[in-house]
Amino acid sequence: MHRPTLTQPTQSASRIAQLFRRGDHWLWLCGGALGLTVLLITGLLLLVVANGFTYFWPYKITAVDRADGTKLMGVVTATQPAVKETPAQTQLRVGNRELNNFDFIWVPTVQLTNFHQPPDAVQIERQENGDFIGFLQRVEVKGQTVASGDAAWTKLHELQPGARALAAQAKAIQRDGIGAVNARMQRAKLRLRSAQLKAPTGAAIDPLLKASVETEVAALQSDYDKLRAVSGELVARSIEAQAVLRTIDGQEKTIPLASIVRAFRPNTMSLVEKFGHYLSRAADFVTGEPRESNTEGGVFPAIFGTVMMTLIMSVVVTPFGVIAAFYLREYAKQGLIVRLVRIAINNLAGVPSIVFGVFGLGFFVYFVGGGIDQVFFPERLPAPTFGTGGILWASLTLALLTVPVVIVATEESIAAVPRGAREGSLALGASKFQTIFNIVLPASVPGILTGVILAMARGAGEVAPLMITGVVKLAPELPLDGSYPFFHLDRKFMHLGFHIYDVGFQSPNIEAAKPMVFTTTLLLISIVVFLNLFAIGLRDRIRRKYQTGAF
């Protein structure tokens, strides 16, 4: 009788059967599904990284002649091959928005001749109107030419920091000095108003108080006028130095040095200079304030708002979720009602986030916030203080949105605490509460943190509910600053997620804003990763402390 050897399948025909018997087809299916998922995520990240990282790079400026005799100069940003009747096209970023009314132009490639890269082509990043691309003619101070030709380029870099500093000084006075005076004046007036509200109807308010407020207001008014004069003078001095430039088609343009953020000649920059330029722009992006309806400049207020909102949310959601989970798991009588509550919690996680936003607007903003205004800030009404969207309400709304995640994770980690640990504590005469507080809670901290990590990841990326509970396109002040009471939880704030939506879909100059969308996305992803790494590090430290050893 023939017996198959152990190492060889008897016939090749039975290989398929063997494969099915071993369950290899399931293995391949599972592996394939995982592979596809990883591929998609990697692709998405690569797309974001590739587009996000190139935003700050100084590309060379190309000058071309058009068939109609005019000339163009700019950065070649895209080319498109011929499709049927449409000829091949080239896209140039020509800048000079105030002269052309556009930044980008598509031109049929056949019309373009004489591609060259003039070494003295200048690109200027400005405070407004986007970039200027052209040639530097001369530098003037108070209308007098101080340098022209090659010397002008050196002179420009020599004078520009001074002019920028003057402008920055003027801005600081406007923002901090005048802002503080305004706030104090407002407070003085509110004192009077509040006294008026408290006084019985018809009764005159204390004349002494009135007089003191009036003197204070007068003094503040004179401070205000002085500061205005100083800042006006600084502004006037800052714009004394100007650069006169010429576009490729011969138009002249005068730009004050104070409004030049950066002037550079990409065609003659070395690689090291280009890297320096790249890093300096990237640093500006992370630490600077937005310009030109958010399409230029930095996103610092949005980073700050995102991080602060996520942290407030975590601080609120963690105790609430943990306490709820402990009650559900340890104290509530297990039965129909608790089962229904659990189902409700799980379903809460599936409610569209905009619904939470609407609830937050109705409950937190109008009901709670409106109530706070009535009780604590009646003198400011009808202008709302807490009765309008703000970072506190947005954070609370997100806390509500993410609390199911924390509850579920906490419940699971409580259930995973070994029975022996509980019994050991109870057998020593500890009460149920002491056992939970001393033994169960510490042991379930890693699981709780897992829930908080998930909640943070979800919360930081959420946009829809924020749009109606406190996020704005441009917030003049940060929700945390040096003026009393430091935490301004009533203030509106900026958020990277909303910034992406706003820049990408609501800005007037979408073509120019596109790279910024990728960069902002990259930044948002990095922040979420960073926050998560922090929480994971914390969790691992605690886990090491409580891991069961020996045996």
Partner: protein
């Protein structure tokens, strides 16, 4: 009627520490203990033996009302500790558990330092003076023959100890609250022979001060360290007598079959 009359070994000098009468215990509809009645002598070691599922651990867990934690448990009959009914409605379970300590099958030190493990029972009872705690910790660790091994690392994690040390730490933890009775639920089943020998030695020492009830699967262990032995089978107390009698000259045929290794 078997069980109504208390089984009691012949010579007991002191009045019984624990007195069990007509104890029935149900897990839901399933009855786990049938009319158990026995007396446990003070400052002696009483061993419960029997095959798995015979109810010996369940009975042990009745003595400090650990079964309260299990859903659907019903108990009938009485358990008296020093004459006091432990199921009385006004009894404070926390006080009961301070008087009846327990050591578990799997050593379960808390994820805290060695010192904090021993001090835990006192801390939850509200003792916080360092001097008092220090004294008790040292005394308990000496009592559990662990002091010399751990005195230099009292503030390191208890989870770094070996299995046998962990179990002795659990004994020290139980001793620290100065109970009257210590219940041991198969305390050596997860230990190697050397660690087991140490724990058995310790049991010998402890019985001078405490009443000990030990559940064990290891017949030699029961023979070595107990004064009285109770044999359980299918939730019933089959025979209860001096350990020597149970092993040398059992009255019941089932007991004889079990201790001689012919079933179980």
């Amino acid at each position: 009627m078997p069980g109504r009359e208390a089984a009691r070994p012949a010579a007991t000098a002191l009045p019984p520490k624990i007195r069990v009468r007509g104890l029935d215990l149900f897990y839901g509809a399933k009855q786990a203990l049938h009319a158990v009645a026995l007396d446990i002598a003070e400052k002696k070691v009483t061993a419960f033996i029997g095959p798995s599922g015979c109810g010996k651990s369940t009975l042990l867990r009745c003595f400090n009302r650990m079964n309260d934690l299990v859903d659907g448990v019903r108990i009938r009959g009485e358990v008296l500790l020093g004459g006091q009914d432990i199921h009385a409605p006004n009894l404070d379970v926390i006080e009961l558990r301070k008087r009846v300590g327990m050591v578990f099958q799997k050593s379960n030190p808390f994820p805290k330092s060695i010192y904090e493990n021993v001090a835990y029972g006192l801390r939850v009872a509200g003792v916080s003076q360092k001097a008092a705690l220090d004294g008790v910790v040292e005394k308990s660790l000496r009592g559990a023959a662990l002091w010399d091994e751990v005195k230099d690392r009292l503030h390191e994690s208890a989870l770094g100890l070996s299995g046998g040390q962990q179990q002795r730490l659990c004994i020290a933890r139980a001793v620290a609250v100065e109970p009257d009775v210590i219940l041991m639920d198969e305390p050596c089943s997860a230990l190697d022979p050397i660690a087991t020998a140490k724990v058995e030695e310790l049991i010998h020492e402890l019985k001078k001060q405490f009443t000990i009830v030990i559940v064990t699967h290891n017949m030699q262990q029961a023979a070595r360290c107990s004064d009285q032995t109770a044999f359980f089978y299918l939730g019933k107390l089959i025979e209860y007598a001096e350990t020597r009698t149970i092993f040398m000259n059992p009255a019941n045929a089932q007991t004889e079959a079990y201790v001689s290794g012919r079933f179980g």
